[in-house]
């Protein structure tokens, strides 16, 4: 697995750099207002994932590359879980960048530090679901089908617009454990779906 992860450094350096730059750019938007912090929480992990994992899925989307990879001492399961591990790394780095910039912005702008763990968990859950569906579509079908993952984003937006205030209130007033449980269930779901994907 370690060898597979080095693939990103050896073959995808440029896109990792672009991903980091895009993440930093979006996280800077936290300096403006609280609502831009929400955008940063959504965009930072997503952009990093798209530049790093998405680009790798694109690079591997040919029979020649698939056969080359499967001729190595690895299995399809390794390839699927390598994408998943990198997607978790993208979420961690994306969230850390967005929150660090928010922390910095609150200090510099002398604002009250508005940091909510439930909110972060919700965005992490969203990112995990998005990434799981993306990787599933890529291996079940091919790279051309992963564009359908964007429809999830649109669907979420519709829900947020429709029930925006209720959702925000629930997030701020509910207990941490409920959201922690949602997070754990999502991670279990992610594991089960990708284990199934690897055996397809």
């Amino acid at each position: 697995m370690k060898n597979l992860l080095t693939k990103y450094i050896l073959l995808n350096k440029k896109n990792i750099m672009f991903g980091v730059l895009a993440t930093v750019f979006y996280s800077i938007s936290s300096f403006d207002e609280q609502r831009f912090y929400l955008v940063a929480l959504l965009m930072c992990p997503s952009l990093l994932f798209t530049f790093v994992v998405g680009k790798m899925c694109y690079m591997e989307d040919s029979d020649a590359t698939q056969q080359f990879l499967l001729s190595l001492p690895i299995t399809k399961r390794d390839l699927v879980f390598e994408k998943n591990i990198v997607s978790y790394i993208c979420i961690v780095i994306g969230m850390a960048t967005a929150n660090f910039m928010k922390f910095l912005a609150d200090i510099i702008m002398k604002r009250e530090f508005g940091w909510n763990i439930n909110l972060i968990i919700i965005f992490i859950v969203f990112s995990i679901l998005y990434n799981t569906i993306y990787i599933f579509l890529n291996y079940k079908y091919d790279y051309s089908k992963v564009q359908f993952t964007s429809f999830i984003l649109v669907g979420i937006m519709v829900v947020v617009i429709k029930f925006g205030n209720d959702i925000i209130n629930t997030i701020y007033t509910s207990g941490f454990w409920m959201f922690a449980c949602i997070g754990i269930v999502t991670m279990a779901l992610n594991y089960l779906v990708l284990r199934k994907t690897a055996s397809l």
């Binding site: 040919s62 020649a64 080359f68 990879l69 001729s71 001492p73």
Partner: protein, 257 residues
Amino acid sequence: MSVSYQIKSRERNGKEVERKKVLEVNNLSKRYDNFLLSDVSFALEEGRIVGMIGPNGAGKSTTMKLVLGIIKPDQGNIIFQGDNRLFDDCKAYKEKIGYVGEATDFFSKCKLSGIKNFYKSFYRTWDDHYYAMVLERLQLSETYKMEELSKGMRVKFSLCLALSHKPELLLMDEPTSGLDPLIRNDILAILRDYAKDHHASIMFSSHITEDMEKIADKLLFIYKGKIIDKRATEELTGKGIAIDVHLENLVKGGARS
């Protein structure tokens, strides 16, 4: 399950030599919606080159992929160095195999040096000196990107990678198709030297019977998913029978194995 494998085989010069069996494939079958590979059986010995020949869609690539473990057989077994590899660790088995596929434009936007570094990280037996030597012999430079190489150069690079971890079994799926005679000769010379120097077993499929005549010790004729004939190359060339004519006769049902 571990079995000792020593078999006698006839050399091109007619001498009988005892050799270790590297791979034994028994009754391998795989069914697809519109194709059936059935009861494929053959053996590969160390230091020998086996050519697999057959028309398009005969099952050559499927057989290669089954042996490599890219696809799973419906039935049959593959015994590698005495162990049934279907029950073994697939990764340990693949470490001892080199593979050159027909499509060689993998990671097309990447530099050869990056692909090499990625590839070599999987093999404990990787030999940098040997890699540099083969690269030089094939007049390749690592500074290129994969997409900048011609098909012939891509095959050469793939071969370079596949040989540099010193595989005991090399599988090549139509490596010389679409290449000019000069490049084909370079590749065949390297294969011949590798099998001889490293006592490795090589199996390659091709449409080009001329290549088979040049380097294959043994031939497997495959048609409609079945091995229809196996014989030493010498048996045909010694009698002045062209390989393509023999295949044609087999396909028409005019020959007896």
